[in-house]
Amino acid sequence: MLYVNQQPCSLPARTLAELAEALALPAQGVALVLDQQLLPRALWAQTPLPDDRDHYIEVFQLVAGG
């Protein structure tokens, strides 16, 4: 099972890049943490999400702020 920001997520995704696409994340301004490890965007396509165990993904996005 995937957990995105602590919510169970049933989107089909074999890699982190596929998950980002399924979540419709913008092309820039986003950071992903997989199982407590910050992963640069360049590594998303080659980062598998094997379903033999749970994965915890934290998604952060730029928002307005002072």
Binding site: P26, E58, L62, G66
Partner: protein, 260 residues
């Protein structure tokens, strides 16, 4: 010209992007303000509630993005937020802010200094939001911060330069740019800050909470330009007594005597 960590900016106004009614209004305020540095925050995405993509439109305007660590309550959290921001924005520039208590949002000096030391060691260009304490600002400078950003008054309070006396000491002692951040309420506050010798000001609420934020952004641009010009020109000295601006020698008393 404002120079921070070797990068020069024409504008001496940094703009916060929060509290605007829409992303479009914020972008129009950016244009009207003439700013070249815009702050942003990082937020944990709520599933099913996608945020506006602010990155692309702001980059299209040609401004540099300055992510902040808002939400961090400790140095450790701020460092984590900084690493996320660096990945999300693709910049090592950072507005460091740690304000754990919600009522006054005052920066925590101990945690801010601790985070600044760690982040400078990690290669970040650190611009810390900090207390208007000259000793603390000097410590942040010695830790390697590229600027110091002491508060004029509590964040979003629009109270103006309440910390003026301490800010003047900070400016006098600083070897890095002093950017007055937080609490400026009116364009005239910005002018005064620059006349006092601040290198720049960071404004958000005063513009975003105006009934006409775009017009107010323009007002702050003009006020900041006025402050820079005024500082460069130098103020005339203050006097207690009057000094005539027009010649007084040409007395008209004899004329009146002759005409009577």
């Amino acid at each position: 010209m404002l120079t921070i960590a070797g990068t020069t900016f024409e504008s001496h106004l940094l703009l916060g992007s929060g509290k605007f009614q829409s992303a479009q209004q914020m972008q129009q305020a950016v244009i009207a303000s003439g700013t070249e540095l815009v702050t942003l925050a990082l937020k944990r995405l709520q599933p099913g509630q996608p945020q506006d993509d602010l990155f692309s439109p702001l980059k299209a305007l040609g401004v540099q993005l300055l992510p902040n660590t808002s939400g961090a309550r400790t140095a450790e959290e701020a460092v984590q937020a900084a690493l996320l921001a660096r990945e999300a924005v693709g910049t090592n520039w950072l507005k460091l802010e740690i304000h754990p208590e919600p009522k006054y949002l005052l920066p925590d000096p101990r945690e801010t200094l601790k985070a600044a030391e760690q982040l400078c060691a990690l290669g970040f260009i650190v611009l810390p939001y900090c207390s208007a304490d000259p000793l603390h600002c000097k410590q942040l400078e010695q830790a390697g911060c590229a600027a110091v950003m002491p508060l004029a008054a509590p964040i979003g309070s629009n109270q103006g330069l309440q910390n003026r006396a301490m800010l003047e000491i900070i400016i006098e002692q600083a070897n890095v740019p002093v950017i007055i951040d937080a609490g400026l309420g009116a364009p005239s506050d910005a002018t005064l800050a620059l006349e006092l010798g601040a290198s720049a000001v960071l404004v958000n609420t005063a513009i975003a909470s105006s009934p006409d934020p775009i017009r107010m952004a323009q007002a702050f641009r003009l006020a900041v330009e006025a402050g820079v010009c005024s500082r460069q020109a130098g103020l005339g000295s203050r006097q207690n007594a009057a000094r005539a601006s027009s010649p007084l020698e040409a007395s008209f008393a004899h004329l009146l005597a002759g005409l009577s």
